[in-house]
């Protein structure tokens, strides 16, 4: 017994630690999954490809000048004429770079990935807010998803979906989803306990309390999560250019290889302006939620 303990201590504590093959396990799993669930991956691949190409085609259907005006109008509607004018100017600058087409492709990837990420994130956030056990399990998983270096995602995803736009979108969904889950949970947990109690006291069912009380009151926080999801999605989509993701990411990784300052700057500028567009429009929308309006009224 003592002998055994001594050997164990020697092997695992005292000696330089042995290398554990975590990576190999993951690789085995990914290879196995690729073969075992091939049909599922193909379906996801086809579905995302379909969404992406149609959205990109749609955005590129009208001439860039008209699209610029549409973006400006959207910003105006979301916040006001000042933002509309600013966004209009910004998008004109993008249209003047040689990369309008790539910008619209990148926007399409961001939108597809962000919408899917949010559709997944909100129910998970609700589950985490309602159930402590689920929340405790979800938290480290979300940490993992958010902090694993973005490039690392691309390797297994490419193996499962081959190069192209789809692996970029998949990696983006995984990378961008966590703040959506977290802020949905936070928003729901922050809802005034007494107001929830009022719902219960008047005999509302839990589902009704969620839909009529908790979600409306949490909406500003959920919208902040949505904003973060979109911003993270944009940053990841650019990185996805490394695996043939197309759009501005492809331009940037190409110009990195050729040390092409001009192309890199043009594409970088387009990314920055696109980021500003997405950020300000989503923020404008979150300021327009009923609860945010009521809060502004109270502050006056």
């Amino acid at each position: 017994m003592i002998e055994y303990l001594r050997n164990w201590l020697w092997t695992y504590i005292w000696k330089p630690l042995p290398d554990m093959p975590f990576g190999d396990w993951m690789e085995t799993f990914i290879r196995w999954a690729r073969d075992a669930w091939a049909a599922g991956f193909d379906a996801v691949d086809a579905g995302l490809e379909f969404l992406y190409t149609h959205l990109a085609d749609g955005l590129l259907w009208l001439p860039s000048g008209v699209m610029v005006l549409l973006f400006a109008a959207a910003a105006w509607a979301a916040k006001g004429w000042k933002l509309g004018a600013g966004i209009g100017l910004g998008m004109f600058v993008v249209a003047w770079t040689p990369y309008w087409e790539q910008t619209m492709q990148t926007l399409s990837m961001v939108l597809v990935a962000a919408v899917i990420a949010i559709v997944l994130a909100i129910p998970l956030g609700i589950a985490a807010a309602e159930n402590r056990t689920f929340s405790a399990i979800a938290r480290p998983v979300l940490d993992f998803m958010q902090t694993l270096p973005a490039f690392v995602y691309l390797i297994p995803v490419v193996m499962l979906f081959s190069v192209g736009v789809v692996p970029g979108i998949i990696a983006t969904i995984i990378f961008a989803m966590p703040p959506g889950v977290r802020l949905t949970e936070l928003g729901l947990r922050q809802v005034d306990r007494e107001v929830v109690e009022a719902g219960q006291a008047f005999g509302a069912s839990p589902a009704r309390i969620l839909v009529r009380i908790k979600l409306p009151l949490a909406l500003p926080t959920i919208m902040a999560g949505l904003n973060q999801v979109i911003m993270l999605a944009l940053s990841m989509v650019v990185i996805a250019g490394l695996v043939g993701g197309g759009g501005l990411g492809a331009v940037i990784s190409g110009s990195l290889g050729r040390l092409d300052i001009a192309a890199g700057f043009n594409a970088g500028l387009a990314v920055v302006l696109l980021a500003i567009l997405l950020d300000r429009v989503t923020q404008g929308l979150s300021d327009r939620t009923p609860v945010a309006r009521a809060a502004r009224l109270a502050a006056r």
């Binding site: 107001v195 009022a198 006291a201 008047f202 005999g203 009521a294 009224l297």
Partner: protein
Amino acid sequence: MPAIEVESLYKVFGKGAKSAVAQLKAGVPKEELNARNVTAAVVDHGWAIEPGEIFVVMGLSGSGKSTLIRMLNGLIKPTSGTIRIDGVELGSLSARELRRLRREKISMVFQHFALLPHRTVVENVAFGLEIKGLNKTERLERAREAVELVGLAGHEDKLPAQLSGGMKQRVGLARALAADTEILLMDEAFSALDPLIRQEMQDQLLDLQGKLGKTIVFITHDLNEAMRIGDRIAICDGEVKQLGTAEEILMHPADEYVAEFTADVDRTRVLTAEAVMEPCGTRDTSAFTTVESGVPVNELYEPVLNSKAPLLVVDDNADPLGVVTPRSIIKSLAPDPEAVGDTEQEAQPA
């Protein structure tokens, strides 16, 4: 049948709650349980409230009164004991039946109003009706009536953020009234308001109660408030220390704990002519200035000083009940009226 009836009701928070109740029943004081991280919030409550009564539960913070009121509509489950609403035992109901009971029989007013900030006044007031499943036009119409009833007409389309504290609580009250339930639970409903507004709200509640005749359970930490509005008052510190009318509690506090509270109460507003009067022999009412039995003492000063003879206290039929003299008024204000002797003082220095 009582509107609300509770029997040997206990609520203990913490691990081993059931065994703690058994110990409490065996006579272990609740302070001893606190040392073991078990908190006895409600201990051995047993009382009944008749329909149309205002029943006030008065206690300091931590005296279990908020827990108690939340047990009455099933938001908190008792550790042991029974609660009956209109004869229906709460413990026997499923979650669905309990929600139905709340929709139909019990509504609640909250300390911090608990309004939905993004809904207008009428939409907030209509909330209970919305849960009941009324269609939009009908519920908004009834909500408008309730808004008018609490005196907020003209503010229907404002948001809560645009209202003062007193107005917000009127919205809370209107929401409860619109639900049209027999029972109204009011959890420190006026405690967050300024003193003047608080008095105004108390008057309004009494006024509304005169018209509507609800069964009201009112929680407060303010004994003045309790005495002002309560038909009966239960003074609680975990267990019920004393249960009775304002006068009974003022004149005969059950123990030191209750006496400490009553020391701060403005007795002249609570005590009535009937409570302070002394017996009289006469049946002839013509020679005296008369006062009605329900007049509070603070309205007797002038008449009693302006009249040479004692004031004659009469009942609703103008039959004499007793007399009030300056001495009987001062006697009633003494901390311990029992200790005052019966003999008249000689009008000479000792």
